[in-house]
Amino acid sequence: MLLALAVALFAIGLLGVIVRRNVLVMLMCMELMLNGVNLSLVTFAQQTGTTVGAVLVFLTFVVATAEIALAIPIVLLLVRRKHTLDLSTYNELNG
């Protein structure tokens, strides 16, 4: 059941990335995805009784923090160029 919750959180997060236009909302949905994964890891750790899952969760925290620390400035720089937070208008890398 907890795993189902984890799956649901992950799916909702991915859905948010696909569906929402705002850059910051998309970033937050990615955080939601990470949370879903963390939940599943913790669940597995508790079910099997090993500590691997917990260790991984710990490391995931670290990586997520670093990732956000870098993603936000990139978003800021992008927004400074295009003056909009609407990601569907960014399509220069096509073809």
Partner: protein
């Protein structure tokens, strides 16, 4: 009766926290203003922290609230405040709503089927003993120190990347001012 309730309190709380987290997550993709979305996310994260605590991994629950909510989401809120001042109201959804919904449903279905088919059903267990911070620390720094080191390498890479962004940024600014 209260005994019976108390006996199943864990499960009940687990259930309630779970539902609330789900609700928070769903709100994220529905709400229009980013600040409200951030709030929904924070609430989801807190409920998740509660779930972790109920599962017995107390330190991870603590770190969840400390790092995720306390650092990451605060940062997000700052940025939203910074950027939203200039933003107007735009359309909320991209053009991929329906494909996304169908796909998400499919994904959930597929994964749930995987879970039901593959894994033994285990409920919650208060095995707090195995996840004490002491035993966690020992196993972390003895058995999984390689992962630890690799993560620190990753952090170094992140620092370098941040410096690179600053430099690029400064050069772009100068070019725009003098060019």
């Amino acid at each position: 009766m209260l005994d019976g309730l108390l006996l199943h309190l864990d499960t009940l709380l687990l259930f309630v926290f779970g539902v609330c987290a789900l609700v928070g997550a769903s709100l994220m993709i529905v709400l229009r203003q980013p600040m409200r979305v951030a709030m929904a996310l924070i609430s989801t994260m807190v409920f998740l922290g509660g779930i972790y605590g109920l599962l017995g991994v107390h330190f991870i629950a603590a770190f969840q609230v400390l790092i995720y909510v306390g650092a990451v989401m605060v940062f997000m809120v700052y940025v939203i405040m910074l950027l939203e001042v200039r933003e107007g109201r735009g359309p909320r959804y991209s053009q991929w709503v329906w494909p996304g919904l169908i796909g998400a449903a499919a994904l959930v279905g597929a994964l749930v089927i995987s879970i039901w088919a593959g894994l033994p059903q285990v409920g919650t267990a208060a095995k707090g003993a195995g996840f004490g911070i002491q035993s966690f620390a020992v196993s972390f720094l003895r058995d999984y120190w390689l992962h630890f080191e690799l993560t620190s390498v990753l952090l170094v890479a992140a620092v370098v990347a941040a410096m690179a962004i600053i430099r690029v940024n400064r050069r772009a600014d100068e070019k725009r001012r003098h060019g």
